[in-house]
Symmetry: D2
Subunit: 336 residues, 4 copies
Amino acid sequence: MKSYLIDSDKGIDAIRKVDAADATPGKGQVKIGIKAASLNYRDLVIAAGGYMRNDTRPVVPLSDGAGEVLEVGDSVTRWKVGDRVSPIFVRDWIDGAVDDAKLKTGLGGGVDGVLAESMIVREQSLVAIPDGMSFTEAATVPCAGVTAWHALFESGNLQPGQTVLLLGTGGVSIFALQLAKAAGARVIITSSSDEKLEQAKSLGADLGINYAKHPEWHKHIRELTAGNGVDHVVEVGGPGTLERSLKSASVGGHVHLIGLLDSPAGKVSPMLSVFNLLTVRGIYVGSRQMHEKMLAAMTVNQIVPVIDKTFSFDEAIEAYRYFASQKHVGKVVIEL
Amino acid sequence: MKSYLIDSDKGIDAIRKVDAADATPGKGQVKIGIKAASLNYRDLVIAAGGYMRNDTRPVVPLSDGAGEVLEVGDSVTRWKVGDRVSPIFVRDWIDGAVDDAKLKTGLGGGVDGVLAESMIVREQSLVAIPDGMSFTEAATVPCAGVTAWHALFESGNLQPGQTVLLLGTGGVSIFALQLAKAAGARVIITSSSDEKLEQAKSLGADLGINYAKHPEWHKHIRELTAGNGVDHVVEVGGPGTLERSLKSASVGGHVHLIGLLDSPAGKVSPMLSVFNLLTVRGIYVGSRQMHEKMLAAMTVNQIVPVIDKTFSFDEAIEAYRYFASQKHVGKVVIEL
Amino acid sequence: MKSYLIDSDKGIDAIRKVDAADATPGKGQVKIGIKAASLNYRDLVIAAGGYMRNDTRPVVPLSDGAGEVLEVGDSVTRWKVGDRVSPIFVRDWIDGAVDDAKLKTGLGGGVDGVLAESMIVREQSLVAIPDGMSFTEAATVPCAGVTAWHALFESGNLQPGQTVLLLGTGGVSIFALQLAKAAGARVIITSSSDEKLEQAKSLGADLGINYAKHPEWHKHIRELTAGNGVDHVVEVGGPGTLERSLKSASVGGHVHLIGLLDSPAGKVSPMLSVFNLLTVRGIYVGSRQMHEKMLAAMTVNQIVPVIDKTFSFDEAIEAYRYFASQKHVGKVVIEL
Amino acid sequence: MKSYLIDSDKGIDAIRKVDAADATPGKGQVKIGIKAASLNYRDLVIAAGGYMRNDTRPVVPLSDGAGEVLEVGDSVTRWKVGDRVSPIFVRDWIDGAVDDAKLKTGLGGGVDGVLAESMIVREQSLVAIPDGMSFTEAATVPCAGVTAWHALFESGNLQPGQTVLLLGTGGVSIFALQLAKAAGARVIITSSSDEKLEQAKSLGADLGINYAKHPEWHKHIRELTAGNGVDHVVEVGGPGTLERSLKSASVGGHVHLIGLLDSPAGKVSPMLSVFNLLTVRGIYVGSRQMHEKMLAAMTVNQIVPVIDKTFSFDEAIEAYRYFASQKHVGKVVIEL
């Protein structure tokens, strides 16, 4: 079978398509035929090397996939041939708390990912795709969707009527937008593009702020919230945003830290946190249970992932390049 | 000014309309001109006497009201003449935990309520009515709405995609229905009337069960939830329902106890709770902060309270009688 | 190897000692040489038949054991030969939430237990015994100790300075006593024996109430708590206690339901829960993570389990009989 | 009566002793005769000017006091003459969540403090001093003690057996040490003085690290925790500590931010928080309810505040100077 492989730190162009052995699932394992895979910002970082806890070489890239059970090993009880499934992002994080060892099992980084015609997965590390959700849609959820879920509902206990601030229109922000609106929250979103803000509003955003036009956007946020600030910020990073995010949060508010960008400008003083009793919590994807709850919420609320563009398996490197160009709103998917 | 008064335990018919002195607000107090008041099941129990912690005699009846600030006392900073406000149900429960002393300050029971042309209230014990919400609508929220909020979002941490079971179409159930749907949950509701079930569905209920036709409704609930049971039951009481509610809840599920009916048939064995790790929590209305959050959620989600029928101030006793007949779906309101 | 076996519902006397095949650990499995096992009330119920979710026949009895790793199967990474370990009570409950399927894997009931010379266990279903804790001590913890931990610290978030009420001096109560005192709480304990109350005080109990002398002990509790009631009750059951437990709890208090006794007198009205905003939560042992946290707490606080009496492997049935006579304070252990 | 007053930003030496009018308590107010007051780092910052939300001029200094009720105003129900009481730090934060308006009522900063012979306080803004606790002891608790309580037990839900890292031997750290030990935790503490470390150990600290000798102390922490890091850091600030604190915390650990020092070296990258799922939460003293719970915990666990030195009312400026010299371990108190 065909598979892609990262065996250097040289970035996208060094990702290779290779022939790999066709494996058979062992005891407690399942063989999946991959039907779709999606890209996340993390995948660019991994290709360039040095991603914390997830620097295995060689590694099959991409964490987010969906497919069909082709074969089951001995003792497998959760699945049968033909079931529609999706691997979870952190292979060994089933439920409850996470630890260092589990965090080393991130798909497409710490362990082999989904950009291959087939893969072998432990039966515990899969979730069922709900009826009515396509493989392509299911493949957009594992990283960005579960991260948004974890921030808003596991860490943040978002309540209806609260206000959520989202930064930009990347994958996590768009899922957070759809989920926050489904949960009855008010959403303010920022972008440097009026066009992207319009798209966000068509998905339910209550207010959009063009940060290119309003560089002091945290002051604008205060005005829009009667001086109180927002209850939640989903802080996906970028130079200089964190300080403004802290200034946009209400007393007792939550800043969910997700971004992966590290820069001197990203460093902030902790003082504001103390005086405003802020909670700043690092969010890193989530468990299988969170993935399952996220899918249930999508089903009940008929949330359809926003898909920007799809590519074929042979066009995978083009998909990476398109994704890196940041022209998209919503997910970029590779279909097999 | 005119006021109603309960000074016996003889029920509805002994409630009297009286002339009361026109008081002036003291330091930290506000005088409200009442514009609307609504009825709750508790009001029938109080009129008949013996309601725990709330058996003051004489007492001005009804907890739920809305009105306009007519006059402010010294040192008042939160309100000015003309503000649209609503008294909170438990007068001294502003935020945080409640205690025995605070629970004795329930309006229309422990302390004077709202069924009068005007009342004097401490400025801390009022909430602002959101723009766009009428006095009549605001007067439906303090007891039933805040109770539903407390159960689902403070005690239950309801998440989108979870399933909520509601028993009957009384005030708490209808608010719980509107709030749970706004928060992205799946709602199953019971009634003995197909017509009421249809009304509930038009408000968003996903599934309705006629318990007269399905006396073993807990088994039906199991079937509708893939054998798992529901995440939350809002148990508003009634003979024999609690045992079925416990049997309808999932392992680790929540049963929010609200009902005020006490009967031998209501007694249950605790065994099921142990083996299914259920949480059974008593809910009694809520704090001012919960009231404010509930109103914010209604505003963001454009929730309009369901009003069954309105009566004039002079028809207050008729309003009680109509309410006692249980023909209504939604709230019965007295307008001034 | 020798093993005991329950293959009827005829109670203690029908438990048989048998010769069993010596198995070899498979992939991901470990073989343990059992060194000690302890008894719980549940073990009597199981021998008599009909214990919910745990009625497998034949079954090796007892949930609580400790021993040494004799052999490890393929792919085992957590253990090596010679490690001192203890199987967890609910075999498949590692962390996070529990579900119906996991609850069917209770040792010594749903699946084979520890009363045998050796057993095969999945490597995930074991905890390490801390240095300085003997096999005999470690074997007392899995059921009663983890249950007490779950109630006080996972469900109850016990804070120093709070008051805990314990009913009787059984296994769960004694662990709850030691843990609650280690955590800085005030403890009130009941018994029908002044001698047992003295033993409890020597373990740290602040106050003891002889319920035979004070049948209205809930009133006594109110006096001892300035009229407020206690923050937590660990309700281990027995006829008629639950109603008094509810009456002993403070407004907003927690009643942790653990008892396995079901009787008409055990049924209670839920009204008190509503008006006092009580949380009544069913507790059923706990996860591996809770077991590990409990052992860490014992180590830091130098908690030594209270052991009443030990028996040899050959005397196992006598150990059951002694345990059934209820003369003990602390655990009854079988040593191999 | 005599009072001290801050009416400039010129620091300690500009604090003046003045004659102030003897006031009478109004409705709902109480007059307290101050018996003791204690110093906190915040008091130095306020004297120098520019302390966020608490820059009122003139202002009576110091937040922490204890005294006797001399006189009660109309409608006061909570207190009578002769009661032993202590004002709460944030005058208007009684229970539940805090907001911007309440945070402006910090004693000795936003509103008048306790360094006077008497003061007028709303009856809601006082706590009772437990029997057996002296005025001097009670006066050490309101800022540092409540802050430590808030961090460990309200924000952190500290469980017995967890590990807590404390930085230095200032007021918050010493209270955190006493409370954490009372709650069954393991405590590691740092200092640049071996003598202070010995004092900390005599108060119960399990391990001490001299950070002058081990500048890379976060690595030492890892070794002492089997590579896992600590569950809680009480981060009281100081140049460059925050980054090491983040590196000392376990995956999913809590860093309670308390420090008031702002320096470029204090700025940190948020990346570590993301990858280790850390919770960094700003803690600012606490509510009256927390103050009451802290006092209950001290009583049950017989915690005696560590008092370094006492001064007379006339020596108040000397007390400030001694405190500023940082030679103390424990609290510096002014007695009247």
